[in-house]
């Protein structure tokens, strides 16, 4: 039992299951998934579909946080990506031209790569603290997004573009397919290839990594670039879903939700080991929370309250100091181990 509790996915899974149970209790057919017009429908599908952008952003954020960094600029990148793509498409003679949309998407993703590389450059080469380095783009980025759209909300009518965030393919929402593909790609890069090991090594012990021959600066630039790319794709999704780009409000606070998802998923803000599945769980918890608030009939405005509650609970449960001071105090007979040990114990005991 204690082994199970110590598993870092234990609490997130428990909370997700709890939220699901609440939904099942309050909503009829919550678990039902049906096929209508060749498309999958159902509450669970909706959670995935609406949660897709957050999962993407959180995915990139996971890798950044694993290197002991943070990226505050993702929300702005979301806005910039949506703005640029929509602007390019609205300039097309035929908004339904597939090549035109592909070109717009290509240019947009290229721009997000540049933005990510900029963050990586500031962190890795100039040596600015990540939170400050990315604050610059966070502040300026919203301005850039509005500059691109000239302060207007750009509305488009393009069915190929609509596919990204709102369309279906092979009965599944296309956005879910994108997420699956990107998660698979990330898992491949980090777990099948050696990128994950480098990231964890740099986040775990930067000096030892350097002395082992890892190019830590390169790793940092790659990670920040990847994070911006994920945010860019999420930006495409969000703008595609509503067929418009709003430089001011698109992706507002998504960086906070993403960081939250990562932390809930058990990746420490202090860097090192990261868990992609944990992050996806975290993002799903946040999305399910929103759904739950709707379904149990609480006014939707209070979602933020519940979010605050969940953040506090999860972070307290994961804080060694909290366990030491509150949990251990009640279970007095346990030998008083030095503070950091509780987290440092191996996950499995033999």
């Amino acid at each position: 039992m204690s082994e199970l509790i110590r598993n870092r996915l234990f609490w997130p899974v428990l909370i997700l299951v709890g939220l699901m149970a609440l939904n099942v209790a309050f909503t009829d057919n919550f678990l039902n998934i049906q096929v209508k017009d060749g498309h999958l429908y159902g509450s669970l599908i909706d959670i995935l579909r609406f949660g897709a952008p957050l999962i993407l952003v959180a995915l990139g954020m996971t890798l950044v946080i694993a290197t002991r960094g943070i990226d505050l600029s993702v929300g702005s990148v979301v806005a910039i990506a949506g703005a640029l793509a929509c602007l390019r498409i609205s300039d097309l003679g035929d908004q339904n031209s597939v090549t035109g949309v592909l070109a717009a998407v290509g240019v947009t993703l290229a721009l997000t790569l540049v933005l990510g590389a900029w963050n990586g450059f500031l962190v890795a080469a100039v040596g600015i603290q990540p939170i400050i380095a990315t604050l610059i783009l966070m502040v300026a980025g919203r301005g850039l997004a509005q500059l691109i759209t000239d302060g207007q909300i750009v509305t488009i009518n393009s069915s190929p573009y609509k596919l990204i965030g709102g369309g279906y393919w092979l009965t599944l929402p296309f956005s879910i397919l994108i997420v699956v593909a990107l998660v698979a790609l990330t898992a491949f890069l980090t777990r099948r290839l050696a990128l994950g090991m480098f990231i964890e090594a740099v986040g775990g012990n930067a000096e030892a990594s350097r002395l082992s021959g890892i190019r830590s600066r390169g790793v940092l630039v790659v990670v920040y670039t990847f994070c911006a790319l994920c945010a860019g794709i999420a930006g495409l999704m969000i703008s595609s879903n509503v067929s418009s780009a709003d430089g001011n409000y698109a992706g507002l606070w998504i960086e906070l939700d993403a960081i939250l998802a990562v932390v809930i998923g058990g990746t420490s803000l202090a860097g090192g080991r990261f868990s992609i599945s944990g992050t996806i769980l975290g993002a799903l918890i946040i999305q399910t929370l929103t759904t739950t608030v709707y379904s149990i009939g609480v006014p939707p405005e209070t979602t933020l309250l519940f979010k605050a509650l969940v953040v506090t609970i999860v972070c307290l449960l994961q804080s060694p100091a909290f366990r030491q001071k509150v949990v251990k105090r009640r279970a007095r007979p346990v030998a008083p181990a030095p503070a950091p040990m509780s987290e440092r114990e191996p996950v499995t005991n033999r």
Partner: protein
């Protein structure tokens, strides 16, 4: 010499850490108005003794008395309030505050709750005046030299009515003038009756300022001596000791190699780390570096691995000049380096044993060409068996004992099949069995043609393994001696102590 009653008396101190007995029945006393040097190599128990005295660690056995009364401090703060102040090598002050504030912060002179800055500056000036320090007390501390920072830390400590002042390696980053300045201050404090516990690795400094010396070795008390009655060479012998019995003898004495030079360092140096040195390492040759901690032995290793940038000089391999700009560059030239600081510069704690073993190989291959699981398994199995690593390869490396961690680090670099392997204190803090295994490994590797730069504080070990020994003293490579029958630990000690053959 008439002795007053000791201000600090520690008797029968035992401190057990998981896997090691850091202090084993140590007695120690400190008299008012003396400078007392605490000497010993790494792992001798100096810092543990200080930490026990200042309440960082509780004692397992034994008693501590301050001015005749038994005490047990809850922490450095409590010790400080009782009159025992510690100044560490890395100054524990706030660099962003002014010099004066650092002395008075938390106890500034006030009037109706308002800090009287004039008074703060005036008193800080007065205090530092007594130390013969001419600094702008309103300047931020970080703008001052390290020596001044240390002096300010001492001033703060003394002004809090210290009876005992512990100086833990205060001189390691100071230049000669700064050291002289520090010593002036220490003498002045001594005259005021303050007891000073002084830790330093520089023998000359000890003999210049200390009245009395206590030597520790492997957690045990070797003895307490008056400085003037203990010649340097005896001190070195007492610190280093001899560990003959447990280690099996290796066959014969290694003979000097006449193979091709593998790597030549010419006037390589780095300001503040090690003075320019010239050193040739031949293929299949084991070159030992002997010297006390802080003598520049680690710095030589780091320069040869590209971990630090050299300030001057050049490195040649196979007759051609090479630039070792980074560890990667050194790795491309088949150079490997096991740092003495396993925890901070070697292993990545959170990663598994397996990942730590293949880390360098993977770094060399790049992220896109992963070491296949089969290859990794094979390598890990091979080296776990060859080096006798005890532990589960899939557990985080931090769960292993020190000796096994050291072997993991060794395995990481042996996989790379280096031509030059730099080992910085590979046998420190590990048990005798593992020690013997690592020594045997070094012999095997060099017989196989690998060059090894072997750094160790234990002269026996250096002598047993090396074909050639470089002796370091005060950041200078003072001698390079072929390991023939004439070379004994005594000659080495003489070199280390005086810089000249004894």
């Amino acid at each position: 010499m008439a002795e007053s009653a000791p201000i600090v008396r520690m008797s029968g101190i035992v401190k057990q850490f998981p896997g090691a007995r850091a202090l084993d029945g140590v007695d120690f006393r400190l008299l008012p108005g003396e400078v007392h040097a605490l000497m010993g190599e790494n792992g001798a128990g100096k810092s543990t003794l200080i930490k026990v005295l200042t309440g960082v660690h509780p004692v397992d056995e034994g008693e501590i008395e301050l001015a005749g009364r038994p005490v047990a401090f809850s922490g450095p703060l409590a010790a400080q309030q009782a009159g025992i102040s510690t100044v560490y090598q890395e100054v524990n002050l706030c660099g962003n505050l002014s010099v004066a504030e650092n002395i008075f912060v938390g106890r500034e002179p006030r009037k109706f709750g308002r800090i009287r800055w004039r008074e703060v500056y005036r008193r800080a000036d007065e205090l530092l005046d007594r130390f013969d320090l001419d600094v702008d007390v309103s300047a931020p501390l970080s703008s001052c030299s390290l020596a001044v920072q240390q002096m300010v830390a001492i001033a703060r400590a003394v002004d809090v009515e210290a009876k005992v002042l512990i100086l833990d390696e205060p001189t390691s980053s100071l230049d000669a003038d700064e050291v002289a300045q520090l010593f002036r201050v220490m003498r002045r404090l001594k005259e005021q009756g303050i007891a000073i516990l002084f830790v330093s690795h520089f023998l000359d400094q000890i003999y210049e300022v200390a009245d009395r010396i206590t030597v520790l070795r492997n957690g045990r008390l070797v003895g307490e001596y008056l400085t003037r009655e203990l010649p340097q060479v005896y001190l070195v012998a007492k610190m280093i000791g001899r560990e003959l019995a447990e280690l099996e003898k290796l066959e014969g004495k290694p003979l000097a190699r006449t193979t091709e030079p593998l790597i030549e360092a010419r006037d390589l140096g780095r300001a503040g780390a090690v003075n320019p040195f010239t050193l040739t390492i031949r293929e299949g040759e084991v070159v030992g570096l002997a010297g006390l901690l802080g003598s520049g032995r680690t710095e030589i290793a780091r320069l040869l691995f590209g971990a630090d940038h050299a300030g001057g000089g050049s490195v040649h391999m196979g007759g051609k000049k090479v630039t070792l700009r980074s560890p990667r560059a050194a790795m491309n030239h088949k150079i490997a380096f096991c740092s003495e600081n396993r925890r901070e510069e070697g292993l990545v704690d959170e990663l598994t044993v397996r990942e730590n073993i293949v880390l360098a190989l993977q770094a060399d291959r790049g992220w896109s060409r992963p070491v296949s699981a089969r290859k990794a398994d094979e390598l890990v199995r091979k080296y776990v068996a060859a080096l006798n690593i005890k532990g589960d390869p899939d557990e985080p490396v931090r769960t292993l004992s020190g000796g096994n961690q050291q072997k993991v680090l060794l395995a990481r670099w042996l996989i790379m099949e280096p031509r030059l392997l730099i080992l910085d204190e590979p046998t420190r803090g590990i048990d005798v069995g593992a020690k013997a295994e690592i020594q045997r490994l070094v012999v095997e590797l060099s017989d196989g043609g690998m060059a090894v730069l072997f750094i160790s504080a234990e002269l026996d070990e250096v002598l047993r393994l090396s074909h050639k020994v470089g002796v370091l003293r005060d950041r200078t490579l003072v001698a390079q001696l072929d390991n023939d029958d004439a070379l004994t630990t005594d000659t080495l000690m003489g070199k280390i102590a005086s810089g000249a053959p004894s």
